[in-house]
Amino acid sequence: MTDKLRMPAEEQYGAELAALAAGDTGKRPAGWALSPRAVVTYLMGGRAADGTPVSAKYVGDQRLIETAVSTLATDRALLLLGVPGTAKSWVSEHLAAAIAGDSTLVIQCTAGTDENQVRYGWNYAQLLAHGPRREALVPTPMLRAMEAGKLCRFEELTRMGSDVQDTLITVLSEKMLPIPELNTAVYAARGFNIIATANNRDKGVNELSSALKRRFNVVVLPLPDSAAEEIAIVTKRVGEMATSLDLPVPKNVADEVARVIAIFRELRSGSTEDGKVALKVPTGGLSTAEAIAVMVGGISQATFFNDGALTPAMLGSNIIGAVIKDPVQDRVVLGEYLETVLKKRRGFEGYYASLTDLI
């Protein structure tokens, strides 16, 4: 157990990566730590050549991951699209960890991100003392990735201004970054590539220019198709997160996950799972990631304030927090759902009572 709250993927799953690398006989593209097929195994789970079990990092369609890995193998940049909470950043981190052995070269894009944070900045003390020279340059994660031949990750690419986004065009098509101040350029080493994630639901983001979009292969990560798949994802992640937070996992966690997911899926899709009752949809996305947060919050509350017993009351306030994003509208939506659906459903009495209390 380290002091780090959360370890990067290549450390947390170091043993799996080492085992895969040891038994990996496939051809590796230049600069790759693993062969493409081993990367897919690392993400989808399976066994390494020596029998070491490899846990599944992504639960879903293997084809999507294959497309993503092949994209990076053809030195095209990869854009992962999806609604919030569809494991875009998670997949991007693990892809970087498996391919480059380093998932820490990240640029978090915001409306305030400027070119200096994407290309390079200047150390002004150096600049004033010695004039423009290489030592005065402050490399960004992207510049370091280019020099080292590693993967650079852009989180939430569309939140960055369009003008800043477009500085990537040269980097992506010519694989080099000119530094006009020094009359030189940084050429990307083999193995360099970019993985960007973007959210295709939020409004008010900066749509990619078509010149930039064309330089990406796009993989859309969908919300889980079936309830069973989603329950599996949540149960697995809740277990992992609780362990890393030193929380004991209550025995009944699987049952409660199934119930919370049932509530989430019905509210998200706008109809009951049997399709018989149409429901109003709350303003929030109610993603799988939020379901995980609800469960972990509930477990934490149960551990510290309820002697470890995970009851609907422990989860109730977390569910309210996830569903009610708009204090007026969403309250009506949830109220209707409670009265028309949950009230009569067996096994959900606890949820009905605690949610009705809280609302």
């Binding site: 493409p36 097929r37 897919v40 084809r63 294959e66 497309t67 890995v69 092949s70 994209t71 193998a73 053809t74 095209r76 854009l79 699209l81 078509s210 979009k213 064309r214 292969n217 796009v218 993989v219 859309v220």
Partner: protein
Amino acid sequence: MTAAVSLFGIRHHGPGSARRLVEALDALAPATVLIEGPVDASDLLPLLADPAMVPPVALLTYAEDNPAAASFFPFAEWSPEYRAVLWAVRHGAALRFIDLPAGDRLADGDAAAESEVADAEAMDAVGRDPIGALAAAAGYADGESWWSDVIEQNPAPGPVFAAVADAMTALRSGERAISGREAAREAHMRLEIARAAKESAGPVAVVCGAWHVPALAEKRSLAADREILRGRPKVKVRATWAPWTSPRLASGSGYGAGVAAPGWCAHLWASGDADDRDTVWLTRIARLLRDRGHFVSTASVIEAQRLGVALAALRGRPAAGFEELRDATIACLCFGERLVWEDIAAELLIGAAVGAIPDSTPLAPLLEDLQRQQRATRLKPEALERELTLDLRSEAGLARSTLLHRLLALDVPWGRLADAGRSRGTFRENWQLCWQPEFAVRLVENLVHGATIADAAAARVIAAIEEEADLGRLAEWVRTAMLADLQPAAERGIDRLETRAALTSDCGSLLKTLPPMADIVRYGEARAGTAGHLAALMPRIVVQAALALPYAARNLDAAAADDLRGAILAAENAIQLAELAAETGDSWRRALHQLLADAQTAPVITGLAARLLYEADQLAADAAAELLGRMLSPGTPIADAAGFFDGFFAGSAARLIHDAPLRRAVDDWLLTLDDDAFTASLPLFRRVFSGLDRAERRRLFDAVFEKAAGAAAGYRLLGGAAALWPAHFARVTAILDGGAP
């Protein structure tokens, strides 16, 4: 001395195995080619090589006395069987089918179907899908891809057919002995092969489904095989070729042995082993996407190709196949959106090719069915036009009308309804009959849909109904189906109408469903068909349309208002015609009242609503005059007033002649117009009054001037008119009876 027999296990409709088969035939140069197919249709095989025969076509076999019991064996351009036939005809080899006679399958439609189900249940998963089992063994999720990689897309020619035979032997060794029809088929094929081997001058090539190879290679005593075949059912069968379509080659269409993507197979066949196969395919995709308005650059196509190759390498496949190219297309050309792909998939993968057959093809069952029905209804096909009046109350009349309507549904306009409009009486139809030779060809084209006129017409109408998105036309199709007495099609249409009407909120399209529905509801009495379901649906649509009407009439431009006016008029007629329950009519009237009350309603519509209510006595005469006065008063903008006037009087200007208060209101309004406004509205007046003929116009003038001048300028009844009339009448009758000189 028996000839050497070579068995070629193929995959039905597999372009790769077709190519390998042609190579193998070239190498073997057989003197006899035997093909898995009904033995009694062998005579038709050489026709396949006719230059006028364009695949996809299907071998159609049907019971002579019951064409509804029919079965189809489709052949595509890339079907190995088709290629084998072409090879044999070109090289002068003997050519025969060797499977059980078609009569065996058709002997008793129901019984055969049942036993097939039983057969399928008896076989376990391996027996049903041998390729799938092999693919699973090779670690493939999907049987198609496995066959594609190992057989179809294997660029190195090798002993492919030997490998297939080995694999099938291994698969079948674990199986129980098969029974029923399957066993009989294989016994029959063995006997035929043995016979051919004895007769043939050179090597014998057998082309059959891969699954059968081990059984056909097996040595069995002829006597045992004959024993299996004893007592099989027989029925007299006829066979012919029918044009086929590529959508019906797809397994999605319900054709069990179909392929997932005929478009892809056609592409594989057309491009052969060429190096640029993937590029051609991706370019086609790019072109389709561009046609649909997506921006696709050539650079993106190059990237898609590279990604496809990388994916194939990642998946350990020899070349980029269908799935790799699809995934690459989605990632590079569709920006990750699956929906965009699905948008082009139907056109790309299924295609719309239609086959053609030569004129020398034997008579088709549809033509025979027509001849039979012509005899039954005593209608002779004549090229000269003649009239036919049918009384639908008599059975004979109804049968004739049904036949003619069904032919119309098949796009064979032997008869045209002389009064296709609305003036038709409920039990009388007037037809113009005229038979054209090309109708026979059209009938044969319809073979795709079914083997009897009733089946084909129903299938064709159902297909049209499934595709129709417009409510009004959907209702027309339902009427067509009812007139032609096509129960399944009518029921399907009413179902669709119900769902679509429930989902739509577009008032215009709801209104457009009403006229055809009213026709059907009225027709329900004369026809045996069930109009009851529709009679329940129509009031619902009326109410729905009535609820939507006030909103639909707001903020319309001239063209839209005109459209809606037509729809409302037609709907009003339909509602009166159908004699619906009082409360339905009331809700319709209420909607018209709302139109009147709502200031946002387009003026033309307000005018129309006012007139309809006035005519229905829902608006008192003085109230109407008052409304007219208000709408035409100087406070209303001229354009609005003109619109209202147009709506009220268009098509019913004659009302002005008899209705003095109305006339006065209009007169007053006209007098308030200044010169410019009057000139501006002149075209409108012309349009309104052009509906009146000369005499009516005269009477209108008279009525107007009578009031203005107070003079007796109109027609007046003479004092002694009643006494004079009998003499007058006798005189006129005498002239008429005398006739023209």
